[in-house]
């Protein structure tokens, strides 16, 4: 029976994660749209933004006008869709119970902070 040689990692976790990014000039901006139905082209009923550039501070209640009328408009404006909500079944006996908004669509775009 051969013994397995241990594979020592080349770097510690801290050092490996301290290696500079291959795209240091890029930052992510996130746009979360809550839509009226599971369809991407349905109306926006809620929106959230996070700014990875650090240049602005989106926050609760910062706007009354949605940035887009529907999810498809965001896609056509260049936002990249990362994830959309899974469609979940309705729990027996609690079919009419409402809770968190069910149709969440997460978009990103990349910004060059050196531009």
């Amino acid at each position: 029976m051969s013994t397995t040689t241990s594979n020592r990692p080349a770097l510690s976790v801290e050092n490996s994660f301290a290696v500079p990014s291959a795209t240091p000039q890029l930052r992510q901006q996130l746009l979360v749209l809550y839509l009226g139905t599971s369809a991407l082209d349905s109306d926006v009923i809620g929106w959230t933004r996070y700014d990875g550039t650090g240049r602005s501070h989106p926050t609760m209640g910062d706007s009354d006008e949605a940035p887009y009328a529907n999810g498809l408009d965001a896609l056509q404006d260049g936002w990249r869709l990362l994830q959309m909500s899974q469609l979940l079944g309705h729990e027996h006996g609690h079919e009419y119970t409402t809770g968190y908004l069910p149709y969440e669509f997460l978009f990103e775009r990349l910004v060059d902070i050196t531009a």
Partner: protein, 292 residues
Amino acid sequence: MTTLVDRKHRLTSVEMAHFVSHGSVVLSGVVPDSLNERAIGVLDAGLPGHPYGTPLDTAFPVGTFVRELLDLPAVAGAVQSLVGPDPVIDHHAVHVRPPHGGEAQNMHGDAILDTRADAFDVQLMYYPREVTLEQGGTLSVPGTHLRRINQTGIGRYQNLAGQTRLTCEAGTVVLLHHGIWHGGRRNDSDQPRYMFKIRFNPTVRQLRLWNTDDIDDPAVRQELSSTFGWTHANEGRLELVNRAKLWRYLTGDEQFDIDYYLTREQIRPSHIAPGATDVRLGSNRSADGWGL
């Protein structure tokens, strides 16, 4: 408040319906200036705390400023319409947002997820001074109060269509259903923004506590069916079902319905029609088999 408030000071059925659909009632400027002017000193001095569920007479006895506020007919009438006579105090607090101070809170529901679908607590919020838009009055989302969420699990929602930001004249009292989604906003003005709040727990079943003289007014149904930006969606109709259920609890009318949804769900007739009593049952398992 330990005696029953005269009917004329209680909320009407239309106002109750507004509370059921919106999750709030606003009493604009009902507190006179004579109290508002004294309020700041009282709030700055601080108010003693009490254990959860302290009776009203113990927490705010006659002779205290807060009792004077709560005994105003319009305020007493609204509180009694919502939580009944002799409510107990869940807790209370003074909130002062300093000028150019603080950051907006994330959207949240108070306390933790509340599983009550019928009985409810009410939070009274008193604004002794005028609140302008830039002073950062509370943002709330009408109609969200019947949804089951936990605390800041909704913190990811920065803006919802139809959200409202409180602006009001001095002496305004707002009453909120305990479940409404809301968040404090940043005060961008030069003035501190004062708010005093009390959460009430009911001690009676919340059944027909308001002035029901207008219970048959068509405006009741219209109010119950109110829509907001965010309800123009797949879940808007489910909210109508939740409101109908709450209205049944409040009125004792177990047949009440909005748009037939709850009634339709119960349509499972057991009556056997004469034409369906033919004894021939048709195909049965002796005729069934693989490959047959």
